[in-house]
């Protein structure tokens, strides 16, 4: 029986820049930052109030996992904003939107009331997009 999600993977084009985006702009916590040999790094972060979910900031680079052709395709797809890995929930979306915008986060959609709540869309430094949501108050 599956109980919970413990790790999810976000493919990024630059881990240094991703670290800055997720930690310094979004305010996520570093969970594990381990060098794996001379040119690999295992980097995971967690949302501020969800320390049990590790988001792996996985570098797209040529190696055992990705061929050169795959890296080229993945890079283009990520830059084009093809991937939307998830939805982040916040308590007040207008305040979060103003704060992230002031930190230079690029929004594809400003907060808008939908039938399911209020939603905005932003991109990370690589091009992945996320939904930012606030549930309707009952």
């Amino acid at each position: 029986m599956i109980k919970r999600l413990t790790h999810m993977c976000v493919y990024v084009l630059n881990q240094e820049s991703a670290f800055d985006f997720y930690v310094n702009k979004l305010g996520f916590k570093v969970h594990t930052d381990a060098p794996m040999g001379s040119d690999n790094r295992w980097l995971t972060v967690t949302p501020p109030e969800q320390p049990e979910l590790e988001i792996t900031l996985f570098l797209v680079k040529e190696g055992p996992m990705f061929t050169k052709e795959t890296v080229q395709m993945m890079t283009q797809l990520i830059k084009n904003g093809t991937f939307g890995p998830g939805v982040f929930e916040c308590s007040d979306i207008y305040a979060t939107y103003e704060e992230l915008k002031s930190k230079g986060v690029e929004f594809k959609k400003a907060p808008k009331e939908e039938f399911y709540g209020i939603e905005a869309l932003f991109r990370d430094d690589s091009g992945n997009w996320f939904s930012l949501g606030q549930k309707k108050k009952s």
Binding site: G37, P64, D92, Y94, A95, E98, S102
Partner: protein, 154 residues
């Protein structure tokens, strides 16, 4: 909150929140923070709490404790951390830290030092086996101490 345009109000409150984020180590009080937002003290506290579910003072303490966690993870001593995050008294810092985190700052520091050492010595213990295998990190002689059995436990 209806008497102000929403964008104006949010920008002011966010500005004050960012002021706390930046000046948490200084001796700031609510008057400093409400001045930053251009609101009266009472009005400011009420709106801030509506948005962040904490009073400005509670939020300031949270920010200080979060930075303390970060600094302890980086290996700073408890007394260095205490003064670096704006607490004047080591006792009140330790009490608030333990109440929030569940362990004392010195125990937290010790736990983090042990964890850091484990990550450095056995990084594969912290990586799901599927990624390690796909990346061929398990073939690397640096990581030989991690057995297949321990990876499958993840």
């Amino acid at each position: 909150m209806d008497q102000y345009p929403r964008n104006y109000l949010y920008r002011r409150i966010v500005q004050s929140k960012l002021f706390i984020d930046t000046h948490y180590a200084d001796a700031i009080d609510i008057d400093n923070i409400s001045n930053e937002a251009y609101f009266s003290k009472f009005h400011f506290i009420r709106i801030f709490k509506e948005i962040y579910e904490k009073t400005p003072h509670q939020y300031l303490i949270t920010v200080r404790i979060n930075h303390a966690i970060t600094f302890l993870k980086e290996g700073l001593s408890v007394s260095e951390v205490c003064s670096s995050v704006g607490f004047e008294s080591l006792t009140s810092f330790s009490t608030l830290f333990k109440r929030t985190v569940g362990v004392s700052p010195s125990n937290f520091l010790l736990q983090e030092q042990q964890r850091k050492q484990q990550v450095a010595e056995k990084p594969l213990s912290y990586i799901p086996g599927c990624f390690a295998f796909k990346q061929e990190w398990t073939k690397d002689s640096n990581f030989e101490e991690v057995s297949f059995a321990s990876l499958t436990d993840l």
